[in-house]
Symmetry: C2
Amino acid sequence: MAREEVKAIQKVPEPTLRRLPWYLAIIKLLQGKGEAVVSSTQIAKEINVDASQVAKDLSYVNVAGKTRVGYEVNELADELNDFLGFTAPHKAFLFGVGSLGAALLQDSGLRQYGLNIVAGFDVKPELDGTSINGIPVYHLRDFAKRQKEIGATIGVITVPVDKAQEVADYIIAGGIKGLWNFTPFRIRVPEDIVVQNTSMYAHLAVMFNRLNSINL
Amino acid sequence: MAREEVKAIQKVPEPTLRRLPWYLAIIKLLQGKGEAVVSSTQIAKEINVDASQVAKDLSYVNVAGKTRVGYEVNELADELNDFLGFTAPHKAFLFGVGSLGAALLQDSGLRQYGLNIVAGFDVKPELDGTSINGIPVYHLRDFAKRQKEIGATIGVITVPVDKAQEVADYIIAGGIKGLWNFTPFRIRVPEDIVVQNTSMYAHLAVMFNRLNSINL
């Protein structure tokens, strides 16, 4: 028991948290094939990570592997899903219903990973009162009211880059605790606020550059 | 001249390539405000990066700062845009027109960053011949034919995770050089193929975990 408590308090390193969904993807594939057990060596082989790294990463999750046998596939899949927060719905608002914002509202897949976007907000009057994929869109000035009714913890930021900081400050003041930032702007936040940056354009920049190097 | 040639051949580190779009975002903001010059110290302050790091990152770009003055905003914006590949259109196909794939076809913003998705592919017969946001969707079996006509270099992978490797192998054999992988599967590729992983669910996992730690 004492050991589990220590685990719960221990901060999981970000690289571990980023690798665990890869393992989950592999484990789900094995589950689909009807496999009963999986070893860390097997997972490691599938994705070019050290087996010791896989075992270490999985040690954060509350599931015991058996020596020379491995993990039970079903148990590991369930525990990983729980551990990663994919089974608990997290209420989110999306800010900026432009091209990317509207696209993310369309993506019902996020819900399967625990992100439940329950409303979109924008400053364009013509969007107020519309809905996308069944998700209502409101004017940004109604955020505080909706936040009182709904109590979202996460804000998805898809506003234009020059509005990113302003909107972030506004919604943090209104009780949003976590920002999923899709703009290329580095948003400054108080210490108790979580930010995750998904820089799609930065990924594109890396890919374009690497493609050019190949063609040299 | 000799120095520039060395620069062109030099491999730009991935962290640099990921930070440069942040600087570009700041520079565009300054441009919008009518600023004429910007120093690396100014950029550094805006986004909490060391000024020496900013100067070093910008040294890869073909633009000269003046000591104690800084960079010309317009020139730096143009050069950075070029350097990052955002001004040259890169033809791309998207594979897997499900929820996320369809959403990405909707996102016209990608085109402004040099990614020109010209067709989508799926195995669902009912999608063949349809279009999303003006982009045609074809059956996957027509990929080779369309590839001959169009010659795309990039494949955006939004297929189900258990199809990621299979589809990647198929399109690489057909001439695709760069994969933008949105699945949580680590795709294995030959050495001369570029892969960029955008693991939206991994980012969610990190955010959920950090939000839980705050609430402890």
